[in-house]
Subunit: 100 residues, 7 copies
Amino acid sequence: MLSNFRKITPLLNRVMIKRFEVPNKSAGGILLPETKEKDMQIGEVIAIGPGSYDEQGNFQEIAVKVGQKVLLPPYGGTSVDFKDEKYSIYKDSEILAVLE
Amino acid sequence: MLSNFRKITPLLNRVMIKRFEVPNKSAGGILLPETKEKDMQIGEVIAIGPGSYDEQGNFQEIAVKVGQKVLLPPYGGTSVDFKDEKYSIYKDSEILAVLE
Amino acid sequence: MLSNFRKITPLLNRVMIKRFEVPNKSAGGILLPETKEKDMQIGEVIAIGPGSYDEQGNFQEIAVKVGQKVLLPPYGGTSVDFKDEKYSIYKDSEILAVLE
Amino acid sequence: MLSNFRKITPLLNRVMIKRFEVPNKSAGGILLPETKEKDMQIGEVIAIGPGSYDEQGNFQEIAVKVGQKVLLPPYGGTSVDFKDEKYSIYKDSEILAVLE
Amino acid sequence: MLSNFRKITPLLNRVMIKRFEVPNKSAGGILLPETKEKDMQIGEVIAIGPGSYDEQGNFQEIAVKVGQKVLLPPYGGTSVDFKDEKYSIYKDSEILAVLE
Amino acid sequence: MLSNFRKITPLLNRVMIKRFEVPNKSAGGILLPETKEKDMQIGEVIAIGPGSYDEQGNFQEIAVKVGQKVLLPPYGGTSVDFKDEKYSIYKDSEILAVLE
Amino acid sequence: MLSNFRKITPLLNRVMIKRFEVPNKSAGGILLPETKEKDMQIGEVIAIGPGSYDEQGNFQEIAVKVGQKVLLPPYGGTSVDFKDEKYSIYKDSEILAVLE
């Protein structure tokens, strides 16, 4: 089982993202209004691959760093459930933006 | 939530555009006639990515600058609602023209 | 609104064309016969982009000049209504021929 | 109108072909049998573009010359009616063969 | 008409093949059993184009010679009826094998 | 029959993976709850190809090593049943991550 | 007819494979159980093409040798019946693995 493993290291130009669940209740338990923001896929970069060669044989660094918060596209990525947490694996070129 | 963040920085060759809502009423409250212009997607460049390497490993600058007003294609782009404003993230090569 | 702007400058390898409306009445008001020519899309180059880099990083000039009359393909292009005139934005490689 | 123009010059790697109408009656007025040849698309090269750069930035000459008779593919090309004659605009790489 | 011409010379990397009709009767007039071989498309190379440049601008010789017998793919190619014979025009890279 | 062979060596940039069957019962025979992990495709690299040349003629090493445990994509790969074991053959670029 | 020919030599990067029919009866005539192995496509390399140039003009050797036993993909390839034997013609990059 996946949980038997300690560590997941993405391959080539892939990155592993821990998805933030957007709470539909405020800290005080009040139901948050349905906002478009709720669908926004946000997450944190947990692990990155070694990078990969483009079609011309030029090495391409990964565009994000571990620990960065990122804005994810509405589609794409492979969902991975690991030790009861929700992760996704994307190609780094699919990630939209860095959040600060 | 997305609003917890201060800043969104697009990745690679992407740009973030603040879309102008085309008013259907004039300043005096008169309903503007349905004009084709109304569908025109216009916006302002809010943030740009660092640029990216093309398939040959040549670095490609971003084709627009922050602050420029631009004409957007009728399709494409990812909508982002951030602090109650409507934004879109496009690849710079998708943007049609600069408006002056 | 788009009309608030003075000038539209296409980006990269795009060109802006002012489409000629093919009259279906002669100067004297006689209904012109339905001819195939009527569907021919003709226009004048109003503005051109700066050109763009091909996949190999080689800079490609724009294939047409401002002022040239051109024959447009039956499909493609983005329609732009600007100050009550009909324009289209094409990639220069989509334009079929120059008319003299 | 297209007929107001003197000359049509194809752009990039395009060529303009004047299509030969395959007669279905012999000179003497006898109805020619339905032959497969009838569907053969034949024409004469009327005008050629300046040629174009391939993906690697290498300039590619046009593969046919003005005046050559050519065999056209059953599909593709854009039909152009000009001064009551039937023309087609093809990319030179679409043309099948030269006829002598 | 196509038959008015003497010679057909394929363009670029195309080749012209004279298709062998697979007889369904033996020399002695006996109906040959329906064999899979019957669908095999076999032909002889009648004419070859000058060759063409690949995407990198490298010149690619034609892979077959005039006079060679070849095995054709079940699909593709453009049929050409010329002087009551059945020909096909293929790109040389579509041809499966040479028969000896 | 495949079982008559001793060894299967993947070609080019392919790798052969022995898929782990995710048990739906614990060691003590208790039915494990339906968890998302169950669909996770995990396996061990059994054999790797020699690697292959990318479109630019640059040799690309295989991204995984024999013996590594890997996370497989939910789709793709060719299933191979060999000596009563379940294997899959993937292109190395399809494999998501290495597990430790 | 194909059988009139002595030899079939694949072109470019193609290889000709003689497919092994997977017996559904054992030597002693006992009906073998329906096993997944039965669908496994196995064959022997009978003839190989000269190899071909990739998009960059780099010559690519054929990945298999005559006489090698190979594992074929479940799809693709062109079937060729020649002198009552079943062959298939594949591009060498489609072949999954070598069997020893």
